[in-house]
Amino acid sequence: MMYLAFAACCLLTNLFLGTLSTTGSAAEIINGILLLIDFALFVAIIVLTVVVCIERFYKNCYGPEGYLTFTLPVKPWQILLSKTLSSALLIICTLAVICGGVLLAVPFNTWNSIDMSDMVAAFEQGLQAVGAGNAAGLALNILGAVARNLFVTILAIYLAISIGQLFHDHKVALSFVFFFVIQSVIGLLTSLLFAGTMNMSDILSTYQQSVDSLDSLIGMINTFIGLQSLWMMAIAAAMFFGTDYIMRKHLNLE
């Protein structure tokens, strides 16, 4: 499918970037062009992924195939879960392709002069400088944040599409509208909830003030990310159940 073709193109282009020599004006021009192509491909593959996720959900649930999907002896939340997971998987693959592309783009001669363990050590040192604890913990936290934002976005899309389906006309247009509404509501609620408690500037100023108390800083960052995660998970759950409710009680396939 197109997706694989794009992924392949991405990786190939980045490979070229990596293997070409970096000297000489001709090389620079080629490099520049390749970078442009590269960037375009990254954008394209992201767009393609999002489009595929939306289209698959819409076609499978609310298009003609919906007649098959919703007459299977399966609970709606199971359908929703499987779609959410497959979309998440696709997005993760895309992110992997992009990361892989970026890694490949680093010129190979540079690779040879870098020792991986040195890099990790340097990375960890940097982290300790900002008092963020070991690399693994932070990596997990970041992964968790990425994952929950992923699910929140996917579920927001699905919920928006499902709400759009409740209406008789202009279902697609309304779906877009509702998507922005949902995102706005989430943003508003999030900032309202976290405005009073803490935000990034608080963390930074605390860092400035208490470089010695690394523990409290780590604690603060972890709590911040943790609370946000809980909040996001709650939102994800709410949207999941909302979509399930619509599928169970207000399904109207025409």
């Binding site: 195939e65 007649y67 609970k75 399904l251 109207n252 396939l253």
Partner: protein, 235 residues
């Protein structure tokens, strides 16, 4: 299985789409062991009623019960629905659809499906999107009839097929007959199916205007159901 419940029961079932009333206070019940014709002019509400039994539409008011339960996982497991349009994933091949149905439906018989595909000349390895319209319809019918369901909902099953295939389909429906199952055939080609029916439901403007056995209609009116229909619905 609820042995005391009717197989299909509608209680004051109403369905509105905005201002449009598709079904208006429909009440009736069906026992197992019948082949029922759901007849009526276009827009009478036949497809709406069938989709509600299949669980694709939710009532505006009133209830629809399959074997005593509202449409849900249990009813979908015992209902085999054939829509008028194609609803398969177009990138699958017929063999893949057999596997798909086997995975989801306990009562699906893959061998039976395979045999029917041979008899009806359905190419099993071409993706659905490359099949002709008639073949797609045959495929869907095969999948639906290869289940041992308790309620079959067939929406215009013989609409687009040639006479030979039509006879095969009607014969298949008869061969499939079980005393604990009921088949509902919604069609406007009454003359072709009349002979295999034993009961008919006439719908008009969302209302049920007649529920009667075929023999009673013929005896009381001296007309076939087809002719009765034309009379009742004369423009």
């Amino acid at each position: 299985m609820n042995s005391t419940a009717d197989l299909l029961k509608c209680e004051d079932l109403t369905k509105k789409f905005g201002k449009d009333t598709a079904l208006d206070n429909i009440s009736f019940s069906l026992d197992p062991g019948h082949i029922v014709g759901l007849l009526g002019p276009n827009g009478a509400g036949k497809t709406t009623l069938i989709k509600m039994a299949a669980g694709l539409l939710t009532p505006t008011s009133g209830a629809i019960l399959i074997d005593g339960d509202a449409p849900g996982v249990y009813s979908k497991g015992i209902v085999s629905y054939l829509p008028e349009r194609t609803y398969l994933n177009e990138s699958m091949t017929p063999d893949q659809t057999i596997k798909f149905f086997s995975d989801f439906y306990e009562d699906f018989d893959p061998e039976r499906a395979g045999e029917m595909m041979e008899s009806l000349n359905v190419n099993r390895t071409k993706p659905v999107k490359n099949l002709s319209k008639g073949t797609k319809e045959k495929l869907q019918l095969i999948l639906v009839m290869s289940r041992k369901a308790r309620l079959y909902l067939l929406d215009e099953p013989i609409g687009g097929v040639d006479p030979a295939a039509r006879d095969y389909i009607l014969n298949t429906i008869l061969q499939n007959y079980e005393e604990d199952a009921t088949v509902i055939i919604s069609t406007h080609l009454i003359a072709d199916v009349e002979q295999i029916l034993d009961e008919v439901l006439f719908l008009q403007d969302g209302k049920l205007i007649l529920q009667e056995s075929v023999d009673t209609i013929r005896e009381e009116r001296g007309l076939s159901v087809d002719e009765t229909f034309r009379e009742v619905f004369r423009c």
